[in-house]
């Protein structure tokens, strides 16, 4: 058996530098490595969506880097014909942060899963968000450990029966959107692997965001957690189960938008019938608010009586930062740092010279 198949080597391009403006296509982002996810895995849909979307960004493959962690999602980087690092469990945001610090000219993506990003790598994720490192973070959430064959994950629901929790998980799951907002993330969105229109729309918004952007992608694991998100995708349930957040639009869901979200006098959100309260009473979604508290409240509306799971952009509020300017300053300083500068640095402020005779003299 030889090592064909998943090939880390570059695809043969063979073409000279094109004369006109380069037109990127989906094929430019597809590596020739054979994808090895299980049949029916949601990862295929995400991969196709990302490869299909990237040409419109206009950043060529050579200036794009995908950094991934460990888990099924971790294999993502092998399938992109960009530069890529398949790192270690949970550490992709750290690797990517170092890369972004050294190379602000690159478009750096992080691909991670719920166990990778929220369990073993939780610290790196929250700090990358806190620092607003310009990474585009795709968090594949299938609410299960897939590659280790089916243990409970930090997003698995309470009571979940898995191999490691035969009597049901005793633990409350993380809400990744709430976690990201709590960490100070300036861009947080949620989408679903199977939604061919919504997923690229979220990618588009994330790329347009200057800082860290986290997209939680509900992703089906057909082997260990099949149908986890069926309620959100099946025709007969999705209207009542899913709330589509759209900036500037009243928040409503259900057949013909008959339910809506209203804000009570005490500031809490609740589900109301539009027929009862009138359309003008509905909360209008404002993803651009500086204060993240309303976005946080929206991340919880699945828990409300009659509530549903929101997808879309929760927060899109760029933070003023001098990081780019400081980085540019350092790059310029490095570029102009000469051997003479080094000599000066080595001398410091207090030197003395010793002549051939050994006499010391202060300088």
């Amino acid at each position: 058996m030889s090592a064909s198949g998943t090939n880390g080597a570059a695809k043969t391009n063979g073409t000279a530098e094109p004369s006109g403006p380069r037109v990127l296509t989906k094929a430019d982002f597809q590596s020739d490595a054979e994808t090895r996810w299980c049949p029916g895995c949601g990862d295929y849909a995400v991969l196709a969506a990302v490869q299909g979307f990237l040409p419109e960004v206009g950043v060529p493959p050579e200036r794009t880097v995908f950094v991934s962690g460990i888990g099924c999602a971790g294999r993502f980087s092998y399938y992109m014909n960009t530069y890529g690092v398949h790192g270690i469990h949970g550490r992709a945001p750290a690797l990517a942060s170092g890369l972004a610090a050294a190379r602000p000219d690159l478009s750096v993506w992080v691909v991670s899963g719920d166990g990778d990003a929220l369990s073993i790598g939780g610290n790196h994720l929250i700090h990358a968000l806190r620092r607003d490192v310009p990474l585009k973070i795709l968090l594949f959430n299938n609410r299960i450990y897939g590659l280790t064959k089916g243990q409970v994950s930090p997003t698995s629901e309470r009571g979940k029966v898995t191999k490691s929790t035969p009597f049901g998980s005793p633990d409350e799951p993380f809400n990744p959107v709430a976690l990201a907002l709590g960490a100070g993330a300036t861009f947080v969105a949620r989408t679903i692997d199977r939604d061919k229109h919504h997923l690229p729309a979220m990618l588009r918004a994330a790329v347009a965001h200057p800082g860290a952007a986290l997209i939680e992608i509900y992703q089906n694991c057909p082997v260990y957690n099949d149908g986890a998100f069926d309620a959100l995708t099946e025709k007969d349930t999705r209207d009542d189960a899913l709330v589509m957040l759209e900036h500037g639009q009243p928040i409503r869901f259900g057949a013909d938008g008959k339910h809506g979200i209203v804000r009570r006098a005490d500031g809490d959100l609740e589900v109301a019938e539009v027929a009862d309260v009138g359309e003008n009473a509905l909360l209008v979604h404002d993803a651009h608010r500086t204060d993240p508290s309303l976005a946080f409240a929206l991340s919880q509306i699945g828990e409300l009586d009659g509530g549903a799971t929101p997808i879309g952009i929760f927060r899109q509020s760029p933070r003023a930062s001098d990081a780019a300017a400081r980085t540019a300053e350092l790059s310029a300083a490095r570029a102009s740092f000469t051997a003479a500068d080094l000599a000066k640095l080595l001398h410091g402020s207090n030197t003395w010279s010793v002549g051939a005779s050994g006499a010391g003299a202060e300088r």
Binding site: G5, G87, L106, H124, F337
Partner: protein, 612 residues
């Protein structure tokens, strides 16, 4: 009355130890005394020693901080064993340090601090200055607090607090007088330090001058000493550096020589944090420093930066090394340049964070899962940290590998004069970044004559490639679970490290020597000093010191076999000796100590003598 009124005796070398409470500014005084000594052209070596607690309860033994300096008119290699003069700012400082003194040593005590309360805090039942317990020593009782207060008395705007805090400068002034060192460098340092605080500046200068003047006028001290300019040092321009500064400068030099940007990612830890502080100041050299969220992230950031084409460095101490192991393993697999600096301290676990040790060697060698060899470099003296950092960078870049640079707390904090190298003569480091090949497939695990793979950084069309922690096939870099390929790659990684070119081991040997003493890293000065004493006593001996620990110099076996007895000395439980025994199947002797302090020349002299 002039200073010439008192006779000046010339000495070849002197060891002074300043000791006081953590809040007494002993490190600061030691640093300034080092400055004034350095500009006189004495050779010198220093040993700061301080508690892990920032401010342990004042006046207690736990809160004692000290700074020892050894200066001489000839080459010296260690901060010295026993001080000739101990400056004790309080009873606790005396109690903690008096056992280090030999008979006849001088104690200069701040008499004002020997109050009933302070004596009790230090655990003295009677006042040692009065009860005769110090009769083996020459005791000078000087009311430093009172004299300092008098010196600043009537100075407008100088608070009592400023006055009290300046008593360390009184001690400095007195010692400068005693050893005939002009205070100009210390005064200009104070000018800068207190530029924005005129009252503090005035108080400190007044205390410094009062200390000097006290020496001139007091009848307590009738003698001065001088130590002439060192005559056996190489000509050139010198400065003092400690190991931290030298390491930082070595990394900046590696950045300049290689054309690569320097990225240091670290997490605060004693004593390695100082390197982060030092490099964070070098913005003008384009140095990028990141205080990471943890040790793991710091290693990851350094490696991520390396993937992007930077000189990626992470620095830590003991417990941080444990946490970085996983990322270092990834770097071994990715075969990317990366420097991991381990400023060793006494372990295990938290151990003794402000005490030195050399006990991370086997961890550096083997502390990762799987077969994951990597090069190890160590530094031998504070200033040699500069060369060691450059060497680590040279190996990392040329061979595309993580390198562990082992320094230690003693090297990091100790200072010595450094002959500033000629920048133009430093070796250039060509990173030989991969270039676009125009056509054909790019193979990220193709190998050159050094067995190193291409370093293809993002941004170059046609070289897009994916690498990761999974075993990869050579040369394509694709994932491979093929048994033969894994054997090949295991061998390949091992052969690459084994084939790294390192300088031959040098031996400083008497022709008829039968005993070879071997050390590594920071024991260099101690071992050389002990060897010198053996020779002065007519003994024949040989000494060698490792700077490269993996791979070992090619002539190591030949040298070890050339002597009937070989003694391996180290500050651990016998780690290098274990490596050498297993590698060369020789019956080597071990002297291994874990007391949180550097080896002493006297103990090594004793060990050597017992084997001659």
């Amino acid at each position: 009355m002039s200073s010439a009124a008192k006779p000046i005796e010339e000495l070849e070398r002197v060891i002074v130890r300043f000791a006081g409470d953590s809040g007494d500014g002993m490190q600061l005084v030691g640093g300034r005394f080092t400055d004034v000594t350095a500009v006189l052209g004495n050779d010198l070596a220093t040993l700061p020693n301080f508690p892990a607690e920032i401010r342990a309860p004042a006046g207690t033994l736990a809160g004692v901080s000290s700074f020892q300096i050894h200066f001489a008119s000839r080459e010296i290699l260690t901060p010295g064993d026993a001080p000739n003069v101990l400056v004790a700012m309080n009873p606790a400082a005396l109690k903690a340090n008096v056992s280090a003194l030999e008979r006849g040593a001088t104690i200069i005590a701040n008499e004002d601090a020997f109050t009933t309360r302070n004596l009790a805090k230090a655990g003295y039942e009677t006042n040692p200055l009065e009860d005769g317990s110090l009769e083996a020593h020459v005791v000078r009782r000087i009311p430093m607090t009172t004299l300092t207060a008098r010196a600043v008395e009537g100075m407008a705007e100088v608070s009592t607090r400023d006055g009290m805090r300046a008593k360390n400068m009184f001690a400095l002034g007195l010692l400068c007088w005693l050893y005939d060192r002009p205070t100009a460098v210390a005064e200009s340092w104070l000018d800068k330090k207190f530029a924005a605080n005129k009252p503090a500046l005035e108080a400190n200068l007044a205390a410094l001058r009062a200390g000097w003047a006290f020496g001139e006028t007091t009848e307590l001290i009738d003698h001065r000493y001088t130590v002439a300019t060192a005559h056996d040092v190489a000509p050139g321009i010198y400065r003092t550096v400690n190991g931290t500064t030298a390491t930082a400068l070595g990394l900046v030099a590696a950045s300049e020589r290689s054309g690569l940007s320097l990225v240091l990612a670290s997490y605060p830890i004693t004593p390695a944090s100082e390197l982060l502080h030092e490099l964070a100041r070098h913005r003008s050299a384009g140095v990028r420093t990141i205080q990471a969220e943890d040790e793991i992230a710091a290693a990851g950031m350094a490696l991520g930066a390396a993937f992007g084409g930077a000189l990626g460095v992470t620095a830590t101490s003991g417990p941080g090394m444990d946490l970085k192991a996983e990322t270092i393993g990834l770097a071994v697999m990715l075969e990317l340049p990366m420097i991991v600096i381990d400023v060793q301290r006494a372990g295990p676990s938290t151990g003794m964070p402000t005490k030195t040790e050399q006990s991370d060697l086997l961890m550096a060698m083997y502390g990762r899962h799987g077969e994951s060899p990597l090069p190890i470099v160590c530094a031998t003296t504070p200033s040699q940290c500069f060369d060691a950092a450059l060497e680590a960078a040279r190996i990392a870049i040329r061979y595309r590998t993580p390198v562990i640079l082992l320094t230690d707390l003693f090297l990091a904090n100790s200072s010595e004069p450094w002959l500033i190298p000629d920048v133009t003569k430093l070796p250039a480091i060509d990173p030989q970044l991969a270039r676009a090949n125009g056509s054909g497939t790019f193979a990220p695990y193709a190998r050159n004559a050094d067995q190193a793979r291409p370093w293809a950084i993002p941004g170059i069309p046609g070289l897009e490639h994916r690498i990761g922690g999974i075993e990869k096939s050579q040369p394509s870099g694709g994932i491979s679970y093929d048994p033969e390929n894994h054997q090949l790659m295991t061998n390949q990684r091992k052969a690459k490290v084994a084939g790294i070119e390192v300088a031959a081991l040098e031996v400083d040997a008497d022709p008829d020597a039968e005993l070879l003493v071997i050390g590594w890293g920071s024991s260099y000065g101690t071992l050389r000093t002990a060897v010198r004493r053996i020779r002065e006593g007519g003994g024949a001996i040989a000494h060698a010191q490792f700077r490269n620990l993996n791979p070992l110099p090619a002539n190591t076996g030949e040298i070890l076999r050339a002597y009937p007895r070989v003694l391996v000395a180290e500050m651990n439980d016998g780690q290098l000796v274990k490596l050498l025994r297993s590698e060369f199947l020789l019956d080597l002797e071990s002297y291994a100590v874990t007391q949180g302090r550097p080896l002493l020349a006297a103990e090594m002299e004793r060990e050597m003598l017992s084997r001659l």
